[in-house]
């Protein structure tokens, strides 16, 4: 796979310079422009995606309202350095739209999900098998305007795995119930001896109907559901949803809330990285690092509990601000925590760096090539270990990170070792960010009567339909959340796109040619979310 970043034709204006030619700009969409196009415009978009590798597809979802069905594609300009973002929307009056899968393989699973949930047909979809729908819901197309009921007691249809033929090949089916304390999913390995020839993932086992549950709910209720989309990213998903709602309503939240959100987000990043670095080493049978890093994770969670009243900080970020202010003793407790972690983390990194028997397992294992990472617009440590420097905190950037100093580590090797080192560097950056935030966070504002208002605003009633979008960096990578609010302020449609959508397919590529025994290492180093992806 070659690097396609620089293949844009110099003679034609790039898509982002002529978005207006695709169709008129929708007025009620914030903060990025949304252009309403027609079939010809959508085909132009496909043509541009084919020619311009710097045009990243960062989201693809459908919507249904009284006006019928639509598909929305979110794009980012990665070649020009501006990182401009835009959404292109296509109405589908006849229930069909031309597939993007031939030009962006990252669209395949998103379109399969759209077919399952809305009943729209992606014309020319390179893999038309169902994805989230395993034939067990008693319902087809649950998000369409007219879902159809099916016989829920009938045995589910069989799911054909992709054929893989050759001499000496055998299959190893794994899951959905896995051997560890892990989320469920099915992996079908085809191996020749110890070497994996092909891995095929089948996900959707933890599909909970999140998008349907949120529909028609007040924003406060929808926020509780979003906070449980993926437990390890509860803060980041809550921030993304809150920012999308606030963008739609044009609401500016109290500065202190902005800083407290970032504080929680960095604690979440820290806890996940500390736990995962240890778990990756443990998957290489080096349990020492897990034994020493998991207490560090525990220290972060206890500090979070002491500061915000919940170890994972679930429901602490809500649209309008944050639910509890940090405990009075919180800032000092977190400074003590970062000082303690700095002292204890560095020697453990030295252990990882010194153990050649451990590096033997992680170096050159599970390589994800840069070209492939680019085609999937992979973010987070998966993208950054394969040469992609994207980080939503920097581009498009949001407060308070625009005022903070931090680096986005990037490596090019793309192997398990590179992903471990990105996480190590991000731990160091998050420690610094937490210290900066505590030192610079606006103080508690006090009214003249001495009463401290919580950093939380009531959502205004705007009396018209609005749409908003947010790009927020979770520990795993960039979350895209799109929300359409009804005139009465309830959620008409919310689509949270977890970074895992663009990372799971890369795991299939990473394991190819590696031995079966290295799969846990590859899997843990990528660490896709099942629940966040299955919705």
């Amino acid at each position: 796979m070659t690097d396609q970043t620089d293949t844009a034709s110099p003679n034609t204006a790039r898509l982002f310079d002529r978005l207006d030619t695709l169709g008129p700009r929708a007025v009620e969409h914030r903060p990025w422009p949304r252009h309403l196009t027609d079939r010809a415009g959508w085909l132009t978009l496909i043509d541009d995606l084919e020619k311009d590798g710097g045009l990243a597809l960062i989201g693809l979802w459908a919507d249904a309202d009284a006006g019928g069905h639509k598909v929305h594609a979110a794009l980012r300009d990665e070649a020009s350095g501006t990182g401009a973002v835009a959404v292109v929307s296509l109405p589908c009056p006849d229930g069909r739209f031309p597939s993007l899968s031939a030009v962006r393989p990252s669209a395949i699973r998103l379109e399969r999900a759209i077919q399952d949930l809305f009943g729209l047909v992606a014309e020319g979809l390179t893999d038309p098998r169902p994805w989230l729908d395993h034939g067990r819901w008693g319902l087809r197309h649950p998000l369409a305007n007219t879902p159809t009921t099916t016989d829920g007691t009938a045995p589910p249809p069989s799911y054909p795995v992709l054929p893989c033929e050759g001499e000496g090949l055998h299959q190893i089916p794994v899951g959905p119930v896995h051997a560890g304390i892990i989320e469920p999913g099915h992996f079908r390995f085809t191996a020749n001896g110890e070497t994996v020839v092909r891995l095929e993932e089948r996900l959707g086992y933890v599909h909970k109907g999140v998008e349907a549950l949120m529909r028609g709910q007040p924003v406060e209720r929808a926020a509780k559901i979003i906070a449980r989309l993926s437990g390890d990213s509860t803060v980041a998903h809550s921030i993304a949803f809150a920012q999308a709602v606030e963008a739609a309503l044009g609401l500016t939240i109290p500065p202190r809330a902005v800083w407290l959100r970032a504080l929680m987000a960095e604690l979440e990043r820290l806890a996940n990285h500390l736990g995962d670095i240890g778990a990756i080493a443990n998957d290489a049978a080096f349990s020492f690092l897990l034994a020493h890093l998991s207490p560090l994770r525990e220290a972060v969670l206890r500090a979070a509990d002491a500061c915000f009243g919940h170890r994972l900080m679930m429901d602490c970020v809500v649209p309008g601000g944050v639910a509890p202010d940090i405990a009075a003793t919180g800032p000092q407790r977190l400074l003590d925590l970062t000082a303690d972690l700095r002292r204890r983390f560095a020697p453990l990194v030295a252990v990882y760096d010194d153990k050649s028997s451990l590096q033997d397992r992680t170096l050159t294992t599970g390589v994800i090539h840069r070209g492939l990472a680019n085609r999937f617009a992979a973010g987070g440590f998966v993208g950054r270990a394969s040469g992609r420097d994207g980080d939503a905190r920097k581009s498009p950037g949001y407060a308070p990170y625009t005022d903070l100093e931090f680096e986005v580590p990037v490596l090019t090797e793309g192997d398990v070792n590179a992903r471990v080192w990105i996480r190590i560097r991000e731990v160091e950056q998050s420690l610094s960010l937490i210290e900066q935030i505590i030192r610079r966070m606006p103080g508690v504002p006090r009214g003249p009567d001495g009463i401290t208002p919580p950093p939380l605003l009531t959502l205004p009633s705007v009396g018209e339909e609005r749409a908003g979008m947010a790009l927020v960096e979770s520990f795993r990578g960039e979350i895209l959340t799109w929300v359409r609010l009804s005139a009465d302020g309830t959620v008409a449609r919310c689509h949270p796109r977890d970074p895992s959508w663009f990372q799971w397919p890369l795991l299939e590529a990473a394991i190819e040619g590696n031995i079966v025994a290295d799969f846990p290492l590859c899997n843990k180093s990528v660490n896709g979310s099942y629940s966040g992806h299955d919705l």
Partner: protein, 174 residues
Amino acid sequence: MFNHILRALTKGPVTEPAPSPSADGLAELAGRIEAASRARLGRSLSIRAVDAGSCNGCELELHALNNPIYDVERFGLRFVASPRHADVLLVTGPVTKNMAEALRRTWDATPDPKWVVACGACAIDGGVFAGSYACVGPVETVIPVDLRIPGCPPRPAELLAGLLSLLEHSASRG
């Protein structure tokens, strides 16, 4: 690395004392466990965790039980890789329709005597996902439940207290 090991040897373990077994859990278990099975189990339980649609929050806290701070194995509680080796199925999540059959099959594969723990708000009543077209609902609608550990997610200390009450009960010889 050797400094770490030396420090661990001289300073002693970081493991914290156990919480007292949850009174609610003990009450719920009263009368559910046959004397014969108590004798067979002694003071150890092998647990097979099954995620039946959880958001992964419960799993994160179950992982914490295995860290040196909580060190669940000192009580004879052990997470095992196969239902064939398990005494207890610990189920999380609102049981998605896509996972219901896998959960039932896991239960069928677990030898008797066996107990089922519904862990977390979703496993107990569906949590925020109750009523979804894609969820069956509480674990007890699919397999019989012996113990419920509430929380979203339960803290490790609460998990430990619940599991200890199961252990106490299975060990008390009436």
